[in-house]
Symmetry: C2
Subunit: 351 residues, 2 copies
């Protein structure tokens, strides 16, 4: 490994690059927003999978983090994070055994969406949350009655989770607000049913980078699970988010490896370097052109102003979470210097 | 880590599973095919990124392997592979310095597609191949004249590379044969120009799992770079390949984590567990239904015969190379027992 600091231009590419100044400003802006609105902040670490970043979020006022998977939570607990909420059910016998061990070590909560799973988790040491399906049919109970039955099977619940995943990327703010208002009206019905049955709901957790400003206004969630705001990928950059302004802080640097055809160059970042589920990355620097995937290992930049062989292109990832999951490390920059290298602590810890 | 062997049903999911018996039969079938046709076999390791698998390919008769990236080659050389051909140009000053070091250690060759790069690589210790663009404009020289000029800049060339990437997945064999015959006629023109200029071409390397049987028949390539045949993903399973019959050997095992909606279950394998560039995985066992992506961490299986909470689903990945690149290890099975765990040696080594 080269000694730090070194020039960003000397990075072996493709490389995941993090502008820590921009990220810190994003962390501070979201923390201030949550505080101003009296909401607890529990950022989702499935976005960054990083102990370094989780600690900065907690130092700025977050009460803990969310993880999507048990292995991700184990890796971040191992790296010193002491308060984790698991946003997916843990249902296999092997997973439940690991969850019991983890709950001895940190403050842990986990969502449940079936009474059988509630019974299997009895006495596991984690706080159990009733996961409510907002209509996407991914996870969660599907009616107020099922929420009450599940809460009774749990006993004392940690709270309710309500995550509107499909609504986060509705591009026009007014459209997003309308659908979230409708979903939130349903959430109120579920909460009324629980409270009407004498069940205390200390926490209502949910929300994302596409919805937090609307969620705060609607006033039902007590805790925000926002993830992508720290990086602001191309997908969220293209949404009218509302609330504080975030800056892009995550980039993929690539190099031109072939320049034999007029109007295009080939770069060393393909579909092993950029998530492909959310369209194209944007070319931010080094060329004026558009990116096109060219297989596993390469992409093209097609345009009028193109760099020469071995020169650099800076890309804005289309979707940050699965792009980060391709890399073992963040190259942290200050200006055009690489000043630190942080591991992607929980990379690949999907199980 | 659990002691080996253990039941496949006890794997933490999502898990990458390798049927080594099926893989060994695929390796033997391709080795026999190459031998019968008098072709050198140099399988592409960008598919598997594994020292264990590369060694088995070489033990079965391969003369060495291909790697797509320098970091991949470094990782596999470190793991004991002694003969590697790099199928992408190495052009940055940092990359060239690393390539010089690697060439001291193993027998190394690398493609070149520009005279400037040939001059930068002069005396690097690696054999330099003229990369010829078959018309996809990814890498390679774009005319017979440019091939001759590049070969002169190189001096003594290791050979010529001609990889028809876009043609590998043409589903109907007759259509694929027609386009490959046309491309190969162009390759002949390039080779004639080189030989007419007094340039010896000891090796003509190229081909893939979609083209090797046709390439053998056309009789211009001397070396095959086939990769995916060892796993046979859904994309290639859907092509009429010709030649020997290969078996699917690579799977992703997943668990049902939610089963609250009629006609569908949610499993713990989403777009961090399966490459998304080539359509949907196929549900092979555990349910009768079709898979749909449900975000970063989950997928749905939609169908009539569905398993219950915590039960298993076996998926056939849509595209093996970028799916393997998501995982740190292969779980090697014999029957329904996990008998070995192999690292994905060069996972994430894209730079």
């Amino acid at each position: 490994m080269t000694d730090l600091p070194f020039a960003r231009a000397d990075l072996a590419t493709p490389a995941l690059v993090l502008d820590s100044g921009a990220m810190e400003r994003n962390i501070a802006a979201m923390a201030a927003f949550a505080k101003a609105h009296g909401l607890a902040l529990r950022p989702h670490a499935k976005t960054h999978k990083s102990g370094e970043i989780a600690r900065r979020q907690i130092d700025a006022g977050a009460i803990g983090i969310c993880c999507a998977k048990l292995g991700e939570a184990e890796a971040l607990a191992e790296d010193g994070v002491g308060d984790i909420h698991l946003t997916s059910p843990v249902v296999t016998p092997g997973g439940i055994a690991r969850l019991r061990v983890l709950a001895q070590r940190i403050r842990l909560s986990v969502v449940v969406d079936h009474p059988d799973n509630a019974r299997a988790l009895s006495g596991c040491g984690a706080h159990l949350f009733v996961d409510v399906d907002p209509g996407v049919h991914r996870t969660g109970v599907t009616s107020p009655e099922a929420a009450v039955a599940l809460a009774r099977a749990i006993g004392e619940i940690g709270g309710v989770q309500f995550y509107c995943g499909s609504e986060q990327h509705v591009a026009v703010a007014a459209d997003r607000r309308a659908v979230l208002a409708e979903k939130t009206a349903y959430l109120r019905t579920v909460l009324d049913a629980l409270r009407g049955a004498g069940i205390a709901v200390p926490v209502v957790t949910g929300g994302g980078t596409g919805s937090f400003a609307i969620d705060a206004e609607l006033g039902v969630l007590t805790e925000l699970q926002v993830g992508s705001y720290i990086f602001l990928d191309r997908e969220y950059r293209d949404c009218e988010l509302g609330g504080p302004v975030f800056e892009p802080s995550l980039f993929v640097d690539a190099s031109v490896i072939s320049a034999n055809t007029h109007g295009r160059v080939t770069i060393d970042a393909g579909l092993k370097a950029l998530a492909t589920d959310a369209g194209m990355p944007e070319v931010l620097a080094g060329a004026e052109g558009r990116y096109a995937f060219m297989g596993d290992e390469q992409g093209a930049v097609i345009g009028d102003v193109l760099p020469g062989l071995a020169e650099r292109i800076v890309l804005m990832p289309p979707h940050c979470d699965p792009t980060v999951n391709l890399y073992d490390r963040y190259h942290v920059i200050a200006g055009e210097q690489v000043v630190a290298i942080w591991p992607v602590t929980a990379r690949g810890r999907g199980s």
